[in-house]
């Protein structure tokens, strides 16, 4: 982490040397994609497009988690935030019939749950694991209790083609012909990265997450910083939930998040609490998931349940083999108490 000297820039060669493994992996990935495209363009495009779609709710959930932890609030309630947002966004779509308004309402629902988490973690200084668990159970209860079968959806977001960009071979259909929440997720990855590491607000947020006492001493309002971050993070998780009902599936089912919030948590740790790292994790997972679907289709000799395990198994292997130890922001999980 460049926390101590965020403004130091190493020379270009230094940067290349520092990131040699990253560049090597990047080169291998690009090479593999090009090779696959040359071999079978249709399947390659399908797998990559599916990769991006599968990764969208995961990266949104992971962004939610890491923004919270960067400011010192552990959020294991992502699953609940997503589930409730998915439900409310679905209801909004059914009763209002406007996908964009439904999307905003979904984000607001997530933000509201974020506010609840912040209230528990910051104001009540409650154990943050319990706070997140409260949100998870609450979401299961509320969505289950108020769910009525037979509500008919008013459609879902269609892909928006970005003009000539979408006509580029391989890249076009994969990157530039997506529904809006998928674009939004990609933009948010870079936006959150920029805000966290290149703005004053981001520096303050990280200071609050690493050493709240020091941050407090130099005049940063720890409580306010945590509240704002956790609420904004909740809105992002809300987008992830809304993705499921407004863009992915199109309707609501009980417990439809199906552990994605927990996967997002795993991806956040996998990416070592950085937006770009988490995005890599989400894409890897999305890819394994897409590959999995292809394998099931093509009917390799293995039973489907065992093929179904591959994404999870591969994640463990990558984690154990390459990623290794990860370190949470120092003050993550600790309520802050002012002196005197």
């Amino acid at each position: 982490m460049e926390l101590t000297a965020p403004t130091t820039r190493s020379a270009a060669t230094g940067w290349v040397f520092k990131n040699k493994w990253l560049l090597l992996i990047g080169a291998i990935v690009v090479g593999a994609i090009v090779y696959a495209y040359a071999t079978n363009d249709r399947v390659t495009v399908a797998v990559l497009a599916s990769t991006l779609r599968q990764s969208t709710p995961l990266i949104l959930g992971a962004l939610c988690g890491l923004i919270g932890e960067r400011s010192g609030v552990v959020n294991i309630g992502i699953e609940g935030q997503m589930l409730l947002a998915a439900f409310v966004a679905f209801l909004a779509n059914v009763y209002i019939g406007n996908l964009w308004i439904a999307l905003i309402i979904g984000a607001l629902t997530g933000a509201l749950m974020g506010a609840l988490l912040a209230f528990m973690a910051v104001t009540l200084k409650m154990d943050q694991i319990i706070g997140g668990t409260v949100i998870n159970i609450l979401a299961v209860g509320l969505t289950g209790y108020f769910y009525t079968a037979g509500l008919v959806t008013k459609g879902k977001f269609a892909p928006i083609s970005l003009g000539p960009l979408a006509d580029i071979p391989l890249i076009g259909p994969v990157l530039f012909n997506n529904p809006p929440i998928t674009y939004l997720a990609i933009i948010l990855v870079f936006a959150v990265h920029y805000v966290l590491f290149h703005t004053r607000w981001g520096l303050r947020t990280r200071a609050v997450g690493e050493h709240p006492r020091a941050a407090d001493t130099v005049g940063i309002n720890v409580f306010r910083t945590r509240y704002i971050n956790v609420i904004l993070a909740g809105a992002i998780a809300g987008l992830g939930g809304a993705f499921l009902t407004l863009e992915g599936v199109g309707s609501f089912e009980r417990l439809m998040t199906n552990g994605r919030g927990f996967l997002a948590l795993a991806i956040m740790i996998f990416g070592k609490w950085t937006p770009l790292g988490a995005w890599a994790g989400a894409l890897l997972f999305g890819f394994l998931y897409a590959l999995n679907t292809q394998l099931q289709f093509s009917g390799v000799g293995l039973p489907p349940q065992l093929i179904g395990s591959l994404p999870y198994l591969a994640t463990i292997l990558v984690l154990a083999g390459f990623v290794g130890r990860s370190r949470a922001p120092a003050a993550s999980g600790q309520p802050y108490e002012t002196e005197g």
Binding site: V74, M120, L124, K125, M126, D127, I129, I130, G131, T133, V134, I135, I137, L138, V140, G141, L142, T143, G144, Y145, F146, Y147, G259, F262, L263, L265, A266, I269, F270, P303, Q305, L306, G308, S309, P311, Y312, L313, T315, I316, L319, A320, G321, V323, G324, R325, S326, R327, A328, A330, S332, G333, Q334, P335
Partner: protein, 370 residues
Amino acid sequence: MTTASAPGNRGNGARWLRQIWRGISVPLVAVLLAGLIGAVLLQISGANPLQAYGALFKGAFGSPEAIQRTLEKATPLIFSGLAVAFAFKAGLFNIGAQGQLLIGAIVAAFVGFSIEGLPAIIHAPLALLIGGLAGALYGAIPGALKTYTGAHEVIVTIMLNYIAINITDYLADGPWKDPSPTNIVARTPRIMPSAELPIFGNIPLGFIFALVAAVVVWWVLYRTTLGYEIRTVGLNSSAAQYAGIRVARTIILAMAISGFLAGLGGAVETQGIVFRYQPGFNAGLGFDGITTALLGKTSPFGVIPAALLLGAMRAGASQMQFDAGVAKEITDVITAFILFFVAADVIVKWLIRQRESDDEQVVLSKGWGG
């Protein structure tokens, strides 16, 4: 129940009583407040709260059969709650109790249906033991990966949950599938009568095992060297290392014991309730272990009333749905608020993923307004 923070911390009789009162007064108020919120929600959505709660209570305690149902629902929660609480004491967040429970459940089923001709006194304990050991092995994986590669146990246990679902689905629909001609679903054959856990009156044997397990867990944690080491690692692993505790061994062992408890929970569910493994029948029980452990303030004895409370709501929910036409998910809403109110006034300085810091706090639970 106040968690003894310093090892060997014992109080005198009067203080003990006061602590017990402080321990139960908080949950009592929490349940009342949560019930009140639930009632408001029921009223708003057009149901009759009194009728609903009456039916809930009747379904949970209204008859010997109802009490048996409550105990049956509470049993796996005690086991998975103990599993999560035990790992918490070592500073580990075992989200994987669910997977360990599934593995324990299906392995116990396998031992139960595949071995013929054993007397019950050997067969039933054998199935329990092997189910528990399977869970222990499955739980040890994230512990070993954490110590040897640094892979975070939260990620690994989440992934292992999904893998466990896939493995058990495969076994129940493949090599261990019930071959009887009438069976078309994925499930194992019924276990032999000799592997079944008996019921004494209306008290399932599994429930008694769960109580015993809680006592054993308490004893291990607070009266053995291993327990001392586990708690020390949980409070500050660097200090533990410095004090000569083998942290790696302790973490793997703690995860294995946690997995053993969860696996035992699955085995008891198989041998006492379901009598076979069938996908979906154990869904969520491991995750509920997290709720149970937190509600019980991660104390072995706190887990028991927490599990009974959750079990009672589960046992009564169907009755409530039937009598009052109220969707049973309202009990989840109430559970969330009970947990909220139990924790709201308590400053549990529970730090996950924390690193060594100078102002390291002991894990403590403070009473309501105390």
